[in-house]
Each structure stands twice: as structure tokens, then as C-alpha cells.
Amino acid sequence: MLYNQPNPLEVKVLSRRFTLPNSQSIETYLANDGYKALEKALDMTQQQIIDEVKASGLRGRGGAGFPTGMKWGFVPRQSPKPKYIMVNADESEPGTCKDRLLIEYDPHQLIEGVMIAALAVGSEQGYVYIRGEYRYLIDVMDRAIEEAYAKGVLGDNVMGRGKKFHLATHSGAGAYECGEESALLESFEGKRGNPRIRPPFPAVAGCYQSPTILNNVETFCAVPAIILSGAAYFSGLGSPKNGGTRLFCLSGHINKPGVYELPMGFNLMRMINEVGGGMRGGKKLKAVIPGGSSCPVLKANECDIAMDFDSVAAAKSMLGSGGVVVMDEDTCMVNAALRIMKFYAHESCGWCIPCREGTNWLKKLLTRFHEGMGTRSDIILIGDLSKNMLGRTFCPLGDAAAMPTIAFVEKFQDEFEAHLDGKPCPYENTSRPVTA
């Protein structure tokens, strides 16, 4: 049972098996194109696999949108060190709930994508780092892995073709920063989730300081379709340089929130109105966060854009993780900025001064401000402190905290001003400040 109704506008590639009965089982998978891409890849050279992924235009679906084939190409395949495949299933970006579905409804697709990546670089070991809260999905993944071993897909003789690949799950324990690839690797080693100095990048020195392909769940899940149906097919589904489809997570003040697989480049307004069922209660649209809370908010009149990496970047925001958060006219932008800053302050790993102190300061400042005890110079200070974090922190979490805040305070200055001089918050969901 899916968590939301599908939409006819969807182009179901990664999610095409979701509604099949017993979609988790390897029998269902095998009966529906399952592991055929892997068989094909076993006959390809490493370079061929990488070239195919490059040509597909697939870009990282975790948030950064880095071209996947290029990333795989950075792995020094001649290195005598063992190569690792690491799946980033630490999905924690607010507004994002898609990797959950991919694991829950089609775990074998993930396994297949991982194994193709393994062939591309000569890896014999992979791990799936799953956030601690997704405990039931660790069980789902474990069961799928067991099935794959039983069927001879995983193990010392992959599909009887002599190659080795082993896969195991690994539980996190609650830390957003561990979704950052180098922090994930530190956490995987049993340490605090602090990010690492880069360079070297994970492709060269990743898991246990060995060459590693580290990608998001959705990124790996796209790979079987690319290999089976070809790069041209996949890239053709999307827009130039932004190949394929992606799972968009629509949430907020719409009638039909849900996860929908749509082509890259799908128009945001159409997404809200035709996929998301339009604004609930007939309210007017005020703002949209296009790709998870790290992305600068778009005002209603900025939403007529194509949802792909380049177009959203041109609109001075990011496609990010595909978490589309829709806010109506009754939403307090100050409260939204506050709650998002609280998140970053709570999740800041504490390694570097600007992020650790900046998010903490801004949390306190915005709390006081939202309660009506702010001054005009505080509005300037919010922007200034955010800009002092931007580009100066050790990892992108500082940017993720700074950019949305700058967008809120610049695009909705009037709302900030409406909170001055002890005036009560003018909007419905004026909540008591949280004690996170």
C-alpha cells in the first residue's frame, strides 16, 4: 500500500514496481526486469559502465547534484587499495521522504544499482548507511540482502560469473550531519560525525581511507534503468544536462501531498497545481522551498520555473533533495526561518566556529525576534550573521543554514518588520518556540 495516490503525470521509472504485490521480494523483482541490468553490466567494461552513466546526465539525487558518472570516474581504479560502495541512506533533509520509499518498495533495485557501481570500479564490498530512525527499513534491506545472497546474486560468485560482492547494512543513530558524505564516512568508522578535510575526496580516500563511490539511494536506484534501457533513454526523459526523472516530495499546504516521480525539468507551478492538487482550502500560494530546507525559499512569483538543477540554480535556489515544501498565505515566514534555524543549530556538529556559534546565535536571535522583542537592527544583523557564515564554514551545513535565512529576511522583510515593536505574530501558525 503506497502512502499516497499516484498521479497520472508521473513518469514511473524508479518507482515502476512500487504498486506490485510483494514488491520487496526478489521473486517479484526478477519477474519484472530485475537484475537484468546487472547481467548486462557484467559484460561491459568498467569504462563502458562509467561512460554510460556519464552520458545519461544522472546527477546526484542527495542534494548536491554532482554529475554521477564524473564522480565514479574519479575513483583510481588501478589503486591496490580495496574499493568500497557506500550508500547514503541517511535521508534527513527536512522536506525529503523519497529514499524511504525506494528502500521500502524496491530494495532490490538499490542492490542492483550498487552492484553495477561496484563493477564499474572493481569493488567487492558495499555498505548501506541507513539513518537510525529508519529501523524497519534496515530490516527490509537485510531481508532483501539475504534473498540476494540465497539467489547467488550477492556473494563470492555473483550470478555465477566469478566476481565477488558483499553488501551489508549499517545503522546510524540520529545526526543530520552524517548525511554529508565525509561525515558519513567518519560516523561509519564509529566516530563523531565530523566532516573531513577535502581534498582528498571520498572517490580517492573514502571508506577506511580507500577509494569509495558514495551516492544517495535514489542515485544508485537510477542506474539499473540507465544500463538496461540506455543512457539516451534516461537522459531524454529530463532536460539537457539534467537527465532522467526524480522522486519529488511534495509537502505543505497542498491538497495532495505525496511522493511523485516526475521528469527533471517539470514546471514547479504545474507540480503544485496539477500533481499536488493545488492549494488546500483555496488559499493563495506565498512561498515554496524547492529542494529541502537548505534551499533558499522562492516567492510565489518566482515559482514558474523548471525543476532541474540548472534552472533552479538560475533562480538563485537549488533543486537539492527534491523536497518541495509549499507554504500558503497564512504562513509566518519568520516562524519558518526560525524553525529551520533551530534545526541547523541542533544538527550542527560543532566542529567549526562560524556554524556552531552562528546557528546558535541566530536561533536565539530569531526566537526573541519572533516573540516580538526584536529591533530593526536585528533584521540587518540576521542577514549579516548569515552572510558571515556563508562560504566560511568547514562543510556545507553552514551554507545550508545561511542561505535560507538570507532569502527569508531579504524576500520577506515586510514580515520581519511586522514582528517589530512587540507586535504579535500576524499569522495563524504562531507556535510557541520549540525547545529543541
Partner: protein, 700 residues
């Protein structure tokens, strides 16, 4: 030598070897790039973001502490953007940092204060509530003020990487992160206090110094620690002729940033209440205070009377008096008192080592060798406890140069944590394991062999034979116990040797024999406590003791003369590696006189001043320079840095006396007599004992 790379910083064209970090290249050219977390010698962090700089053609600002210089790189450390970045980083740091300056020990020597003066804004815009946690005391000598902590993690690295102890960690997340000790609310560690020195702010402070004074009220005197033989420089903070603290912020000694608990805290014996402040003479069975002239008269009369009859006089010298005092003492004994009965408590077989190395040069290791060489064999000692600085050097060589370490010890030692091979052998049988290591050691590019007193006499010869047969460059170090044990042997405070390893050619009693003798008429003990573990056979021997405390030997004495400590005099001492260094007087002795002066006064009182000359340290040193082989080192050179003596490279044809060699194997918190009178060391030890008793009870 790596290729040189040319680059520009602030318009200046510079060059540096490829791989040099920008922050280092700048520093070497007099350009300061501020940083908190960058700490030379420790792992890179790039956490504090103070060192952000502009690099042309790079879109974002870069951290100078992890960026290697690149050919043609154009760097700006003084652009508006860089200035703004520094200002804002400091503003962020000062957000939660408490305005503790008025009560914080670090005020006046605080890096955060200095940085804010130089790079910060005049005001902070922070008007929220600051985070607060209460101060914690983690050991008798370590306090942690969480609110002040800037989370630079230097302390964590110093403890983990530098010391190999790892007693400090980081807990929680984000702005509420804190440093935490390894046992919940307290530290189980070496108490070396380097975490306190390395902390840029007043988050970690010394419990022995807390709240006592301001740094600018003290005069800082750098001298050589008077405890073990490693020869570390310690800096004593003196106010009104009182030592208020010891530390190593100076870092200019052979010990770099290292200092242990003894060097740091255990100066406090010097003003213990029981310190003898006036001469004592035994009258009617009890020791009574008398004037110096009276005491000297008693000694001179007695010594003179015995000497005139050619009666037997014995002299026991010290492991921690200066080279000048040792030289002077043996000279007076041999030329003034006409006796060759002169000895000291020997703690390592340096004599056999030098004899075994006859014909070679440059095979005695320096403390710098212990950092630079790539392979070490440690025999019969838990170096981290007994010679913590030597252990620090080897560990640093392992970290920085991937040096290989081999151990042959009775029990597990800290070096085992990163040793290539760790062999267990009971004390005295270590050399039986040497052959096992031959293949491995033979392929090392070079080797330093460090051995304790469990290798002595013939075993030393076997060890040297083994080392010389490996076919690789080998250096040696014979461990000795105290701050000038090596100097005592170098200066011939033994019956069989004159200064400079020349045979005396005359018979003489060893210290043991002096104690056992029924015919010794007078025994003169300078800075030693032989009666701690032994008894005097004769009740008739007249005993004169020069010491700081009423030790067991002083309690037997007929005359006690109060002596100055190392922190109260000038002179030179020689460390375990033969490195000669200068003492600098930090405080005045109260009532006591230096051993040098006392010996001179006794000679003068006996009319024998001409046999020894003036009791001026520099004058005596000049005589040492002229007459002691290997000590021809100008004082001016020693003022700049230590110099290793080059002892005779010929045979030392004397009978080896391994039976007389016993190391006390002092650990981190014991140091012979001086340790007994250090309140801080006692407090630390008691605290550890009571904790471990508690923990045992909790677990049983």
C-alpha cells in the same frame, strides 16, 4: 630536498619547499596568519576558520592551515574580505564566550585576547543569553571552565597524539559540545599539564596556580628541571622571590612543547615547611641550630684533624648537583682531603657503554636523535613513566616519520601500542631476546638503542656487540636517573675515574663500602641519601651532610649544612644523552648556601682554598672546559642551546661495577628525596589511589 615552489603573499614574492602549508610558509617569512586550532606537529583540523585567506582564482576563501603552497599562487592575507572574516569569526567566538577576563587566570597571556585586540571588533552585537556550564575540577591540578572553551581541540590532540594517553575527548554536539575527561568527571592520565599550556584560552587551567597572580606580575625564569635526567627546560614564574608556577609556554628547550608533572608542578619542594634553613650540629645527641661559622668550624676541625693523621675520609656525591659542584667536590676530595674514597649512587652503566664504544665517534644519541631517527629499541624501561620526554620524542618520530619501535621489557609498556615488536623478558634477561630481532633491525635504515640499568656490566658489551654487528647506523643511550647523574660520572665522582673518564689509577671505597666500613672516620655526604635503604656499620664515623631536608642520612649526621636547590643556583647539568645545559637561578635560597659555596667554605676554613679555587660557577666551568675531555663547550654556546659532550673515544680501562648500579625507576610522580617533599605530587598520587580504590569497590 623537495622542489621549491614560488608564490606571492601580500605582494611579496616568496618560495618554499613543495608541500609546505601556506600558514607555515607565511610564518617563516614573518607574516602572521592567525589561527587557534592549527598546532604544529599535531593533526590538521581547519576547524576554527581564523586562518581564512584570499587566494586569487579560487572562488571561496581558503584556510591557510591545510592549503599547500602552489606554483604561482597569489595570496592575500590583508584584504578587506579577510579582515571582515577574521572580525566575524572572533565575533562568533565571543558570542558564548564569558567575559571572565577579570577572574580568568589566562588574562594577559590569552590568545583570544590578543586576537581580539589585533583582529576583532570593538564591540559585540550579541545580546542573547550565553550558554553556561559550571567549572569542573578534573584532577588536583586540572580545572576545566566549559564556557571559556573555544573547542579548538588542541588539548585533545596533545593528549592523544603527543602523549599517547588520550584522556581528553569531545562530547555532545554543536554549540553545547564540551571537552570531557576519560573517567566521567575526572582524569586518569599522566597529569603532565600540557593540555593547560596548549589551551589558547583559560578553559584549562592549573589547579596549583589558579587565582594566585597575573602573568605580568611574575618574572619568568627558564631553567632545567631538577628531577629526572631528561633535561627539560621548565619556566618558573617568580613573584617577590617566590615561585608561583612552573610551565612550558616558552617551548625553547630541548623538550619543545613537552613538560611532565614533575617539571611543571614539583618545584614546590623548595619551600616545604621542613626545608632546613640553618646549619645543625649534634650537641648532646640532638641536632641544634648553629651559625654557619660555628658549623664550618666544627667540620673543618674534624676533617683537618683526620687528614693530618691520614685517617680515612669518605665522600658521597650527588645525582642532582651541578657539574661545577661535582668537579669541585672530587677535586677537593682528591687534592684537598687526599682521599680517593669518592662515589655516588650510580644508576646506569654509562662507563661500560663508553668503553664498549671505544674507537667510535658520534654513537651516543641526543634527544633530537630520538625525534629524527626512524627506528628505536627500548630495553628494560617503561619510558613513558620513567623518561616521559624521551618517550614523547620517540612517539613523535613514530607519528611524523613512521618510525619503528621495538620493545624488550618485563611488562607491557606504552610504546607497545605502536611497536612493531614487543617482547616480554624479565629484568636482567632482556639481551637474550636480541637475536630474535636481528633480521628486523638489520633492515632498518638506522637505529637508536635505549637501555636501563637492567643491562649493565657484560650485558652492555653484548648489547653493543649486537648493535655494531647489525650493519646499520646505531646510536646508544644508557638511561640514568636524576638531573645530573650523567654529570656525576662525567666529573669523576667515582673512585676509579677522574673527570673525563681518565682512570684514577688509585684504589678507593665505593659508597657501599664506605657505609660498611668500621674504619672510616668521617663521611661527607653531599646531596645524597644513602641511609634511606642501607645502614651505617660504624657508630663512630663522623657524618657531615649537605642537603635540603632532614633525610635519613641527615638524621644520622653530626653536622647538617643546608644546601640550595637547583632552582636557587646557577651552573650546568648534563642530561641522560650527555647534553650540557645551564641552570638559571630563579629564587634566593633562604638560609641555605649552594653546595659549591659550602665546599669552598669548608676548604677555606681548612686553609685549603688553594686546592680548589674560587667557588664561582663560571670560573669552575672554565676549568672544566680546559681539563675535562668532551666539555670544551663555551658558556656562550650553552646560553643558546644545549650541546652534547663528546666523551673520550678510547678505552676506559676500569673495572666495571654493575653491582653498584641500581636505578630507582622513578615514575611520573616520584623523584627521590625531592619528590617526597612535593605537596603537589603527593596530592596527585593520593587522588589517584583513592579513585582507583573507589573504582575497584564499585566494580567488585
Amino acid at each position: 630536498m623537495a622542489d621549491l615552489v614560488k608564490f606571492t603573499i601580500d605582494g611579496r614574492e616568496l618560495e618554499a619547499p613543495a608541500g609546505t602549508l601556506v600558514i607555515e610558509a607565511a610564518k617563516r617569512n614573518g607574516i602572521e596568519i592567525p589561527s587557534f586550532c592549527y598546532c604544529e606537529g599535531y593533526s590538521l583540523q581547519a576547524a576554527c576558520r581564523m586562518c581564512l585567506i584570499d587566494v586569487e582564482k579560487m572562488p571561496k576563501m581558503q584556510v591557510a592551515c591545510t592549503l599547500p603552497v602552489g606554483a604561482g599562487m597569489v595570496i592575500h592575507t590583508d584584504s578587506d574580505q579577510v579582515k571582515k572574516a577574521r572580525k566575524s569569526t572572533l565575533e562568533f567566538l565571543l558570542a558564548n564566550h564569558p567575559l571572565d577576563c577579570p577572574v580568568c587566570d589566562k588574562g594577559g597571556e590569552c590568545e583570544l585576547q590578543d586576537m581580539v585586540f589585533r583582529y576583532g571588533a570593538g564591540e559585540s552585537r550579541f545580546t542573547e543569553n550565553k550558554l553556561h556550564v559550571d567549572e569542573q575540577q578534573w584532577s588536583p591540578v586540572v580545572f576545566y571552565d566549559g564556557p571559556r572553551c573555544i573547542l579548538c581541540f588542541r588539548c585533545v590532540r596533545a593528549c592523544e597524539e603527543g602523549m599517547g594517553v588520550g584522556a581528553l575527548g569531545v562530547i555532545n554536539r554543536g554549540a553545547v559540545s564540551l571537552i570531557a575527561p576519560n573517567h566521567g568527571d575526572h582524569l586518569e592520565c599522566d597529569e603532565c599539564g600540557q593540555c593547560i599550556d596548549i589551551c589558547p584560552v583559560g578553559a584549562l587551567t592549573s589547579g596549583a596556580y589558579r587565582y594566585q597572580t597575573r602573568p605580568w606580575e611574575m618574572e619568568h625564569v627558564g631553567t632545567i628541571c631538577t628531577h629526572c635526567s631528561d633535561g627539560c627546560k621548565t619556566t618558573l614564574g617568580v613573584r617577590n622571590d617566590e615561585i608561583i608556577r612552573g610551565n612550558n609556554r616558552d617551548r625553547s628547550g630541548i623538550n619543545g612543547e613537552f613538560l611532565c608533572a614533575k617539571g611543571r608542578y614539583a618545584y614546590d619542594f623548595y619551600n616545604h615547611a621542613e626545608r632546613i634553613q640553618s646549619p645543625l650540629v649534634r650537641v648532646g645527641g640532638k641536632l641544634e641550630p648553629v651559625s654557619w661559622s660555628k658549623a664550618l668550624e666544627v667540620v673543618a676541625n674534624k676533617f683537618g684533624e683526620i687528614r693530618s693523621r691520614s685517617g680515612e675520609i669518605g665522600v658521597i656525591g650527588s645525582n642532582h648537583t651541578t657539574n661545577e659542584e661535582n668537579f669541585y667536590l672530587q677535586k677537593f676530595a682528591r687534592h684537598g682531603l687526599n682521599t680517593n674514597n669518592i662515589d655516588h649512587h650510580r644508576t646506569g652503566d654509562v662507563v661500560t657503554l663508553i668503553d664498549a664504544l671505544s674507537g667510535t665517534t658520534g654513537q651516543l644519541a641526543t634527544t633530537q636523535d630520538l625525534y629524527e631517527k626512524k627506528a628505536f629499541l627500548v630495553i628494560g624501561t617503561d619510558l613513558a613513566l620513567e623518561h616521559p620526554f624521551l618517550s614523547f620524542q620517540i612517539r613523535a618520530s613514530h607519528r611524523h616519520h613512521e618510525a619503528h619501535v621495538y620493545t624488550i621489557t618485563a611488562e607491557k609498556v606504552r610504546e607497545d601500542n605502536y611497536a612493531v615488536r614487543a617482547i616480554r623478558k624479565p629484568a636482567g634477561q632482556e639481551i637474550d631476546a636480541l637475536e630474535e630481532l636481528r633480521t628486523a633491525l638489520a633492515v632498518e635504515p638506522e637505529l637508536v638503542i635505549i637501555f636501563s640499568d637492567s643491562v649493565k656490566g657484560d650485558a652492555v658489551r653484548k648489547l653493543v656487540e649486537f648493535g655494531q654487528s647489525l650493519g646499520t647506523a646505531v646510536k646508544y643511550c644508557a638511561l640514568v636517573d636524576y638531573s645530573n647523574s650523567r654529570g656525576a660520572i662525567d666529573m669523576g665522582v667515582v673512585p676509579e675515574l677522574l673527570p673525563g673518564y681518565q682512570p684514577s689509577g688509585k684504589p678507593g671505597l665505593s659508597a657501599q663500602e664506605m657505609l660498611a666500613s668500621q674504619t672510616l672516620e668521617a663521611l661527607w655526604v653531599v646531596g645524597a641519601n644513602p641511609l634511606k635503604d642501607a645502614a651505617m656499620a660504624s657508630k663512630k664515623t663522623f657524618v657531615v651532610v649537605q642537603d635540603m631536608f632532614l633525610t635519613e642520612t641527615a638524621q644520622r649526621a653530626d653536622v647538617v649544612l643546608p644546601a640550595a636547590s637547583a632552582y636557587e643556583k646557577n651552573g650546568t647539568v648534563t642530561n641522560v644523552c650527555g647534553e650540557v645545559q645551564r641552570l638559571t637561578r630563579a629564587v634566593s635560597a633562604v638560609g641555605a648556601k649552594t653546595d659549591l659555596e659550602i665546599i669552598g667554605l669548608i676548604a677555606k676554613e681548612m686553609g685549603l682554598a688553594a686546592t680548589v679555587g674560587p667557588w664561582v660557577p663560571d670560573t669552575v666551568y672554565n676549568e672544566i672546559r680546559k681539563t675535562v675531555k668532551g666539555y670544551n663547550i663555551p658558556l656562550a654556546m650553552l646560553a643558546v642551546q644545549s650541546q652534547q659532550t663528546a666523551p673520550v673515544n678510547g678505552r676506559v680501562p676500569v673495572e666495571s661495577r654493575p653491582d653498584l648500579i641500581h636505578s630507582a625507576h622513578n615514575g611520573l610522580f616520584t623523584s627521590g628525596t625531592l619528590g617526597r617533599y612535593s605537596k603537589v605530587l603527593h596530592t596527585v598520587m593520593e587522588s589517584r589511589e583513592s579513585r582507583s580504590a573507589q573504582e575497584e569497590m564499585a566494580h567488585s
